[in-house]
């Protein structure tokens, strides 16, 4: 399946997604994170189109570990769990997403960071 | 509603679908059932390919200092995928998949601890062997230089 990859800046992410996302056209797949090393992390928001063959769009933004990431829950209510998973796994901070989906609330481990 | 009740009643007199497994051993296995891995050490050429291919690492080779190798297979760790048989250069002779059902281990067999000891010993033997080889190589090189 070919992916259309759109590279955006994290600050523009919410505006971009607001103009792009229409609940009746796009199916929200998931939020994904990939640790790039050197304190950088790539965040991805992935969508697919209803009723069309092989159309997947991936928005990607590169950010630092410490940056506070805005949440897309106000736009896509079903993103809550995916965001909490990213918070648990990478130790990044996403607005309104609490730690403790898989790990303990006060756990200090970040399993999917490549340095750890 | 009545139909369902009738069926429930008739089901009462039908034969049971389950088997009392450990006491009644008449489980019919299909042909080519994937069972235990069997091997013949005489035919093995000790190439380690099965060890590298095994996903749960249930075949582990021990390296003796004289260069010979010894291996053990853990039937309780094995997932019966058959990767080792596909990787084997002599399939059917040195390594093959039988249709035998794996038996459950008892407490007396102490399979876990025994296996952990073996795994540690094997890893250590490899390291020792590698170190020995390296030292020998170094010695040879020094002799050449001098």
């Amino acid at each position: 399946m070919p992916i259309r990859k759109v590279e955006i800046r994290l600050e523009d992410m919410l505006d971009e997604l607001t103009t792009f996302y229409d609940a009746k056209v796009w199916h929200f797949l998931t939020v994904n994170g990939i640790d790039l090393g050197d304190g950088k992390i790539e965040l991805q928001w992935i969508f697919s189109k209803y009723g069309v063959k092989d159309e997947t769009v991936l928005f990607s933004a590169v950010t630092a570990y410490e940056t506070k990431v805005p949440s897309v829950v106000s736009l896509i209510p079903s993103a809550t769990l995916s965001e909490r998973e990213i918070v648990d796994m990478f130790g990044v901070e996403i607005e309104g997403a609490a730690k403790g989906l898989y790990l303990d609330e006060d756990s200090l481990t970040m399993p999917l960071r490549c340095s750890l | 509603m009545i139909k369902a009740m009738m069926q429930a009643f008739t089901n009462l007199f039908k034969p049971v679908h389950t088997v009392k497994y450990p006491f009644e051993e008449d489980v019919v296995l299909p042909k080519d059932y994937r069972g235990l891995i069997e091997y013949s050490e005489d035919d093995c050429i000790f190439c380690d390919k099965c060890e590298k291919a095994c996903p749960p690492k249930s075949i582990v080779f021990y390296q003796h200092p004289d260069g010979s190798k010894e291996y053990k297979y853990n039937a309780w760790l094995c997932i019966y995928c058959g990767e080792c048989v596909r990787a084997c250069p002599k399939p059917g002779e040195a390594l093959w998949q039988s249709e035998k059902k794996p038996l459950s281990a008892t407490k007396e067999q102490d399979v876990n601890n025994e296996w952990f000891v073996w795994q540690r010993a094997a890893a250590e033997s490899r390291e020792n062997h590698a170190a020995m080889k390296k030292a020998a190589k170094e010695k040879k090189r020094q002799e050449k230089e001098s």
Partner: protein, 361 residues
């Protein structure tokens, strides 16, 4: 006087087989607020895939995410890696893979229907469906050689071929199963405990389905026409008689009907596949190491399964992202609970067919 009461459901509950906890806030008997805790069986499979196991072995690891849809997990991973290696399977391999996925769908849906009838207090029906389900399990065992964890799909093909005796056995068992499903269909639409009781309970409207990104049978029961089988060109589903099945009412009854009709459609597809198996090799050598980033979607019994695999020509992959159907259906589930009676909660939950082992991976 209105009184607000907090009632937990799970993580251990008599009507639940899976470790999930819902925290209901109820007003008298009506649920007004729902909280969910899903991470009880987290095993760190995503980490294991990129750090402990080499890419050739990961297919066997991801199959262990879930016992019921093991085949879809290993299939999605294998498709992803094959695409990274620039390999495309031949028609025979595609057909054999499709056959296993459809058989998987039949027995998974039957398990769900059994649980639904059990939660209606219909224990006899539960026993009967589980006994009939053995017909499909036997086929799968005969094809793959294993009963639950099939380990059937390998990178570059499938591990075992279908023999003429097997074809006969598949035909025999499926012929036996079809009238039983027709019978079940009648039971589920006419029996009082299974139809009237379930009509209008646990409704997910079409708009809610869009907003909360419902998927799989849950979405199709609300009339949202989404199915990865129709939305991806990995498999020639149109050639084997696939049709999308959907209802419009979105209640438990509609979800049961969608599942029953999908079983019948899957049986038809399996028969077509078996009758029209193309010739060719069943496994081919694939060379190289995975490089790049790829996305794969496969329709699992519970909905869409999503894999993102990223590799950089090393023995270990950079990232394997698994998104399982139940994980993304949980927001929709929570929405359905709101406004329904507390006593209905176990039945509604069973009708979602949740798989916690998938969710927490």
């Amino acid at each position: 006087m209105k009184k607000v009461v907090n009632i937990p459901l799970g993580s251990q509950h008599i009507s639940l087989l899976e470790p999930i906890r819902f925290q209901f806030t109820t007003e008298n008997e009506k649920i007004i607020e729902v909280g969910a805790d899903v991470g009880f069986v987290h095993r760190g499979i995503e980490k294991a895939c990129s750090e402990t196991f080499e890419w050739k072995k990961v297919g066997y690891v991801v199959a262990r995410v879930c016992g019921l849809c093991a085949i879809t997990h290993s299939l999605s991973y294998t498709l992803a890696v094959e695409r990274l290696l620039g390999y495309e399977a031949n028609e025979r391999i595609k057909y054999l893979r499709m056959l296993m996925v459809e058989l998987d769908r039949i027995h998974s849906h039957m398990l769900c229907l059994a649980h639904v009838s059990e939660n209606a207090g219909f224990e006899a029906m539960f026993m009967q469906i589980m006994a009939d389900r053995e017909l499909v399990m036997d086929i799968q065992e005969a094809i793959s050689g294993n009963r639950v964890q099939f380990d059937y799909i390998a990178i570059g093909g499938v591990n075992r071929d279908v023999t003429p005796e097997l074809v006969n056995m598949i035909h025999k068992n499926l012929d036996e199963l079809r009238p039983k499903i027709d019978d079940l269909m009648e039971r589920f639409s006419n029996n009082w405990s299974l139809s009237l009781k379930y009509k209008g309970v646990g409704v997910l409207t079409l708009d809610e389905a869009y907003i909360y990104n419902a998927l799989g049978p849950l979405a199709r029961a609300s009339g949202l026409k989404t199915d990865v089988r129709a939305e991806s060109s990995d498999f020639p589903y149109e050639d084997v008689g696939y049709e999308m099945i959907f209802e419009s009412s979105g209640d438990i009854y509609a979800r049961n009907m969608v599942r029953l009709r999908e079983i019948i459609n899957s049986i038809t597809m399996c028969e077509n596949i078996i009758d029209n198996l193309p010739t060719g090799e069943i496994i081919e050598k694939v060379k190289g190491k995975p490089e790049g980033e790829v996305v794969v979607r496969v329709e699992a019994p519970r909905g869409e399964l999503f894999y993102l695999v990223k590799g950089s020509r090393k023995n270990f992959l950079d990232r394997v992202r698994i998104k399982t159907p139940t994980f993304s259906a949980i927001p929709a589930m929570m929405e359905v609970f709101k406004g329904s009676e507390y006593a209905d909660a176990p039945a509604i939950l069973a009708s979602f067919d949740p798989c916690m082992s998938c969710t927490a991976k």
